[in-house]
Every structure is written in C-alpha cells, then in structure tokens.
C-alpha cells in the first residue's frame, strides 16, 4: 500500500515534468519564435541567409557590415542606383546588426568568404574597438549555435561562457529562449520599450541631444587604448582573411553628430587610427563630415544624412572599381 503511494508520487512528479516541458516548448514555438524573428536575430538570420544564397552564384555583390549606424545610415538602393549610372552592376547589401563589433562578425566570416563578394565595407565607431567591449550579446551567440562554423583562432578570441553559448545543443537553445517570453508577452500586449521608440521614431531635439551627449557614462564613450584587445584582434583577422580570399576590404569610420564627436577624447582618436593604419586596411574617416541636422540622434543619421552618406559610399566604391582595385 505504502509502496504504491511512493510510486504514485514518483509517477505524478514525472508526468508533471513531462507536461511542463511540452507546454514550455509549445510556448516557445507559438510565442517566442515568431517574436524573435522581428528583432536583432532577424538581422543576423537574414545575413546568414544572404551569404548562403549568394554562395556559388556569379553575382557581383558588395556587403556593408557594421553596427546600428550602418543599418540607419546606409541605403543600398541609393548605392546601386548611383553605380548603375556609371554602368556598374552590383548587388549591394546592408548587413548591419545592432550593437555589432568585429568580434561578433567572426561568426559570419566563413559564410562571407563562401559567398565571394567583390567588396566588403566595414563600418564601426571607436567604441567597437574599445578594451571595454569584449561584449557580444548573448542572444546573438546563442541563436547562432548550430548554424555556424568557426575556426580555432576565431574561437580563441571568445570567452569560455561565450563559446558555451555558441556550442549549445538544440534543447539548450530552446531553454535559452525563455528570456524572450516576457518581451514576447510585452510585444503581444502592445507594451513597447520606450527608449527604443525614441531612437527609431523620434528625431531628438537639440536639447535632448545635449543632455545625452553630456552623460559621462554613455557606453559610446568607451575609450580606445593603445594595447591590443579581442576586438582589435578580431578585426585584423577578419580583414586579413577576407583579403587572403581576394575580397577587397574598406573600413569606414562612421559619421557622428558633432555634439557626440566633441565628447570623444583625442587620445581615443589617435589610438584608433594608429591601430587602423597598422592593419593596412584602406580606411575613410566620416566622423566629422556631417552637420547636426543630418542626424536624428547623436550617432544615427536622418533620412537626409542617410542619402548623402550612401552617395559618398557609392562614390568610394566607384573609385575602387574604376581604379582596378577589385
């Protein structure tokens, strides 16, 4: 009698566990998976799809990769149209990802090489090369598990925790997705993240820009020092591998609002360009090329700025192509 009681309890606990997991996976499939397809992961997933679909084709393609500044500032249609007027036919892709860094892009390196683009343009700001930004969002790494292959050197630049995320199995990846349940519920209920709305939809007033520019703790002000760090190593390796595979690489130091630019220390600028020049990568400095009205916040351009910047990039591409650099 008592033994059957023990068995009943064990059975009830086991069935409860199984049911909980079934319901959980149903929640992930119905609520979370559709949700994450609309955010940063969508950008990364799209990029991987682009590389995959371009592999084995003879299409002339150009990738512009970088952080949210690239997403906002660069319009591939403007560039394609500009190049057409010069009888140059290229498929141009904006493969920017929010909060991107060179280290994160190592995950895409093999995909890029396999798709054999003619030119890869890389656009970052100083902060992406700071000693303080070994940071790559966990989500991005976790979702990449199962979709990417990285060589030994690239893996050596990641921390043990980051590698654990990249190497997750399918079950672990599904469990990891729990962190999106609340954002997915929020999205379902129409509760949006306010800060993000400000950036995307509203153009900041001068007063707002001034307040943010004066915040001494802004992550964008992370300094660049002289010494080496994983981001710099990743950049050197990334550009080196691309060049080794006959892919032209151009680096663009992305435009900044003058108010933001004024807060960047000269030492950061000096250390950064010393590093960039040492890499041998052709680079263009766009940091101070545009006025405040070309930006809708301190680092992202408005649609006017976007058009100007895209044309400038088109002109650089044209020079590259016509100068037989490709």
């Amino acid at each position: 009698m008592i033994t059957s009681q023990y068995l009943k309890i064990a059975l009830v606990i086991s069935i409860s566990l199984v049911c909980a997991f079934i319901i959980y996976f149903a929640i992930i499939a119905c609520l979370v998976n559709p949700y994450i397809q609309t955010h940063t992961w969508k950008q990364i997933s799209n990029n991987l799809d682009v590389y995959e679909s371009n592999s084995g084709t003879s299409e002339n393609s150009i990738y512009f990769l970088g952080n949210s500044q690239v997403i906002h500032d660069f319009d591939p249609i403007v560039v394609q149209d500009y190049l057409k007027t010069e009888n140059l036919t290229f498929r141009v892709y904006n493969v920017g990802v929010d909060d991107d860094t060179p280290l994160q892009r190592l995950t895409e390196l093999q995909g890029i090489i396999r798709s054999k683009p003619k030119i890869v343009i890389i656009g970052f700001s100083y902060t992406s090369f700071s000693n303080l930004t070994r940071y790559v969002p966990d989500d991005n790494l976790a979702f990449l598990s199962g979709r990417i292959v990285m060589d030994r050197y690239s893996r050596s630049l990641y921390t043990k925790e980051q590698l654990a995320l990249i190497d997750q199995n399918v079950i672990e990846q599904q469990i990891f997705k729990r962190k999106f349940i609340i954002p997915a519920i929020r999205s379902l209920l129409g509760i949006h993240l306010q800060e993000r709305e400000n950036i995307v939809n509203d153009t900041m007033s001068l007063e707002q820009k001034n307040i943010i520019a004066k915040n001494p703790y802004d992550a964008f002000l992370a300094p660049v020092y002289q010494d080496d760090n994983p981001q710099k190593k990743a950049f050197v390796y990334l550009t080196g591998e691309l060049a080794r595979n006959n892919i032209s690489v151009i680096y663009i130091n992305m435009p900044l609002d003058p108010l933001r630019s004024d807060t960047i220390p000269d030492s950061t600028r000096y250390n950064f360009f010393t590093f960039m020049n040492s890499t041998g990568v052709k680079n263009y400095d766009f940091e101070k090329r545009y006025a405040g009205y070309d930006f809708h916040d301190l680092v992202h351009q408005s649609k006017y700025g976007r058009e100007k910047f895209s044309k400038a990039i088109a002109s650089i591409i044209s020079q590259e192509v016509n100068g037989d650099a490709v």
């Binding site: 008592i2 009943k8 409860s16 319901i23 990891f176 729990r178 349940i181 509760i191």
Partner: protein, 522 residues
C-alpha cells in the same frame, strides 16, 4: 552546491534513496553526516575541517560541563574554552581583515605611516551559522536546559546537517537532537510536504529574488551610474526591490532547507512570519530571521540583563544586541551601522511604548494578533510568534507603512557598502525628489506595465482559485492563508498540476544566471 541547482536535486534524490534503503539508524546518521560533509566540501572547501574541529571541541567541552564530577570552576573553564574557541575562530576568519583594514584606516587618519599587512583569509561558508549551533548547545548545557549528547555521531550530524548548514535556520540542539533518537523514516506525506516547501522556496529564490536582483544591481552595482549620481527615484525603487529581494532570497533558502529536512523526516524551525506586515520594529524582529533574533535574545540580551535592570540598561542592552546582530551579518561598517540603526529603532519604539504603554500595547497586540509576552521572555526583543493571524485594519496598515519605511531604510544601509555612497543614497531616500520620481515612473512605464500585468494575472488566478474562501472570509483571509499547507494537502492529481505549474514557471521565467543566496556570505 546551490540549493537551486540541478546538482543539488540529484544529490538530494541520491541521499533520500540511500537513507531510505539503509535499515539501521546508526548507518542512516553516518551516511547523512558523510553526505553533509560532502555537501559542505563541494559548496565551500577543505575548510569543513574547521567545522569538524569546532564540533569536537564543543562536544567534549559539553560533556565536561555536564560531568557530575566537575567543579563549578571546571564547568566554567569548559564553557570558556568552547566559547573562546568557537568565537575566536569565527572572529579570526570573519573579522580579522576588517579589523586590520579599519586599524590601517585609523593610522592613515592619524598620520601614522604604518600599515598592518592584510592576509587572504577565506571566509568558510556558513561559519556564522554552525558556530551559533555549537554555542547554543554549550550554553544550553551550562544553563541545564539540555543534557549533553551521548553520541558524537549524533552531535556532529546536528552541527553539519546539510539542509541547515550553510545559511540556517539556526537550530537549537534541544530542537534537533531529540529527532535523532528515532530511525529516519521517509513517508509519502513527508515527501509531498517537503517537495511542496522546496518548490515554493525555489520559486521565491529563482523567479522572484533572482529576477529582482537584475534591477537591484542596476541601481547599486552599476559601473555606468555610480550611486552618488543616481536619482531619488532609482534609490527608492532600488531599496524597495532590494528589501523584496533579500526576503524572497533568504526565505526561499529557508523553505528549501525546511523542505529538504522534511522529506528526510526532520522538523526545522520557521524563520519568517510575514515580516513586512510588522507594525513596529519590535514586531519586525519577531517575524524576521526568527531563529537569529531569538538566539540573540536568549544568549545575549537576556544574559546582559534584558529589561530587568532599569530603563537605561535596557536601551544599552538593546543597542549592544543589535550592533552585534549587525556585525554577525558581515565584517563591514555598513553592517555595524545597520545593526546600530535597528538598535535605535527598537529603543525609539520602546520609548514610545513606555510613554503610553497601555494604549500602544493594546493596539499593537491587536494589530499583530500576538498574545502577551510569555513570563520568561522579554517584551522588547525577539518574542516568538505563537499565533499567525494578522488583522488588517486602517490603523494597522498605517503603522505597517510607517514601520516598513524605516525597515527599508535599513535595507539601504545593508546594501550599500561604501560610506560616501551610503550617505548620498540615504539623503536621496529621505529627501525624496518628486520630479525624479515622476520622471522615473514615466521613463519605465513599460517595465511597470509588464510587471503589473504579470502580478495582475497571478492575483486573478489566486482570486479564482480561492473565490469561495474570499466570499466567506474576506480578502484579509488571503493574506493570512497558509498556502504551503494548502498545497501540500492537495489531492495527488491536483498536487501534480501544482508541480507542473512550478516547473513551467521555472522554465519560462528563470533568469539566465542565478546568483548565490545572499545569506551565503554571512
């Protein structure tokens, strides 16, 4: 090995299966002792040897005290040896570096160009708890409240018993040792009751405390926004959230400890009784960390004279007790200040009560639903809760709010370790900047809305489940309702639904990383 880890679940299942399989009491106890040492070794380090040493010293000193052939002087000598050894080791491991650091600070202020070197002394996990276990045993033998244990195995198991080992509750020898007289029997009822307690503890820790920790750390451990630059809104929100975090973290731990012990057939004392419903600081200490406050009451406050030596001595005794209570929590100035702050709160409350005792006692007693203090205890400090019913009236709500305002100010002191930061934070807590609060509420509407939706959903589900009870007994009955007892008595099928819900909630809402229990550091 954290209680809320998969490792612990496997370890615990293994222990339960082996104990159930062993037929003889002695082997069961021996296995539990080995398992407890293993648990400590995995959680901490080789420093479990220190625990064994303290166990041996206090065991033999206890026997010496109780020995009929010992003279009074010899008994005192044994008492002193046991106390000095236990407290000396606690003092060395916990307070040596603090003392050296403070002395060096004093040297610097006085302009003395000398500093004593600091040593990398590891704090053994749970030392404050097992030292107090050992001391309660020695003191109770000396006070002739208990007979010494005749079995070294039973005594060492009392000190090392893994559910209570690392962060309490502080169990008296007289509560635990009698339970070792019988063979450990694992019954289906105890499994159900224990698992229910453990599951509520895990929910408290992982779902509530750990999720709150993220926001609390944004305020108090954010390198991007130092405390001194934080707004009033952040400090107040961070303080409230930390108060909730520490409660759910610690009481979650205690629930898992009590549940683990329950499955093995042991009863450990409750440590919390709705502390944030306390209507006075005195009542708070009857409801918060009950085993610690009653330990300090019985072995420090009352031996110092309690309230039997006049008003001034009572206040002094209260202050001494609370400062030591603060220091017990950790070797840092903020814990000392926190203890002193609570001493001042208790003295102030006592002063108010003394001025108008009849009126206040009547009201407090009504509000808290407590019986008058027992004759052998002291009304100022740590009287055990004997009745759990809380009466919610407008005046008691007001008293609760005023009391909790000051209790939460105490949590701010507890959380902020640097003195300049603490001064800035306290200033922002006391002198609220309404503009920053309004701005903060607007800025974080999304987070507030999301949490309101989740809490609202929980409340609605609770109301539906207990609809009948609310209709018959009113909303206040829900506050007083013993949910754990209700859940553990559910019919097996319904209990299964409860377990499934717990696992589902853990799967869905547990944060990516779970920090250690806050009380592990003490």
């Amino acid at each position: 090995m954290l209680f809320n880890s998969i490792d612990y679940i496997f370890f615990f299942i293994f222990v339960v299966l082996v104990v159930a399989a062993l037929q003889r009491k002695k082997y069961q106890h021996l296995f539990l002792l080995v398992a407890s040492y293993y648990f400590y070794w995995v959680s901490g380090s080789f420093l479990f040897l220190l625990m064994i040493f303290i166990s041996l010293v206090t065991y033999y000193c206890g026997r010496g005290i109780a020995d009929l052939t010992s003279t009074q002087k010899q008994k005192k000598t044994y008492l002193v040896i046991a106390t000095v050894t236990s407290l000396g080791l606690l003092g060395f491991f916990k307070y040596f570096n603090f003392a050296v650091d403070s002395t060096n600070g004093l040297f610097a202020v006085l302009g003395i160009p000398y500093s004593i070197p600091l040593y990398g002394i590891l704090l053994p996990i749970g030392i404050s708890f097992y030292t107090f276990h050992a001391l309660s045993y020695i003191f109770d033998i000396y006070l002739r409240k208990i007979e010494p244990s005749k079995s070294l195995l039973e005594y060492t198991l009392y000190i090392a018993f893994f559910p209570q080992l690392v962060a309490g509750p502080i169990v008296r020898a007289r509560e635990f040792l009698p339970q070792l007289k019988n063979k450990v029997v694992i019954t289906p009822e105890n499994i159900k009751a224990g698992v229910t307690l453990m599951s509520t503890g895990i929910i408290k820790k992982v779902i509530i405390a750990d999720n709150l920790a993220y926001y609390v750390n944004l305020v108090f451990s954010n390198p991007s926004v130092p405390i001194q630059d934080s707004t009033s809104f952040f400090i107040i929100a961070g303080t409230i959230l930390f108060g909730l975090q520490i409660f759910f973290d610690f009481s979650g731990y205690i629930d898992i400890a009590l549940g683990s012990a329950k499955v093995l057939g042991f009863e450990l004392p409750q440590n919390f009784n709705r502390p944030y419903f306390s209507a006075s600081p005195t009542e708070f200490w009857r409801r918060w960390n009950i085993t610690l406050s009653s330990f300090i009451r019985d072995y420090l406050y009352i031996p110092l004279g309690g309230n039997r030596k006049g008003k001034v001595r009572t206040y002094i005794n209260l202050m001494i007790s609370m400062v030591i209570c603060g220091l017990w929590h950790g070797a840092a100035w903020n814990f000392l200040i926190w203890g002193a702050y609570h001493g001042v709160l208790l003295c102030t409350h006592k002063l108010i009560v003394d001025k108008n005792p009849l009126k206040y006692f009547k009201r407090t007693s009504q509000a808290s639903g407590q019986p008058p203090a027992p004759a052998d205890s002291d009304s100022s400090f740590g009287v055990r809760i004997q009745q759990k019913v809380l009466k919610i009236t407008p005046s008691s709500i007001l008293k609760i709010l005023i009391t909790q305002y000051f209790i939460f100010l105490g949590w701010l002191i507890f959380r902020v370790h640097s003195l300049p930061d603490l001064l800035a934070a306290v200033q922002k807590y006391l002198f609220i900047d309404p503009q920053s609060v309004a701005n903060g509420l607007i800025k974080y509407t999304d987070i507030i809305q999301t949490n309101l939706v989740l809490i609202g959903a929980f409340v609605v589900i609770t109301m539906i489940l207990f609809n009948k009870k609310i209709r018959t007994d009113g909303i206040a009955a829900l506050v007083n309702f013993d949910y754990v007892e209700y859940l553990q008595n559910l019919e097996l099928r319904s209990w299964g639904v409860y377990i499934m819900t717990v696992v589902l909630v853990l799967l869905c809402f547990s944060p990516s990383s779970s920090p250690e229990f806050i009380y592990f550091q003490f």
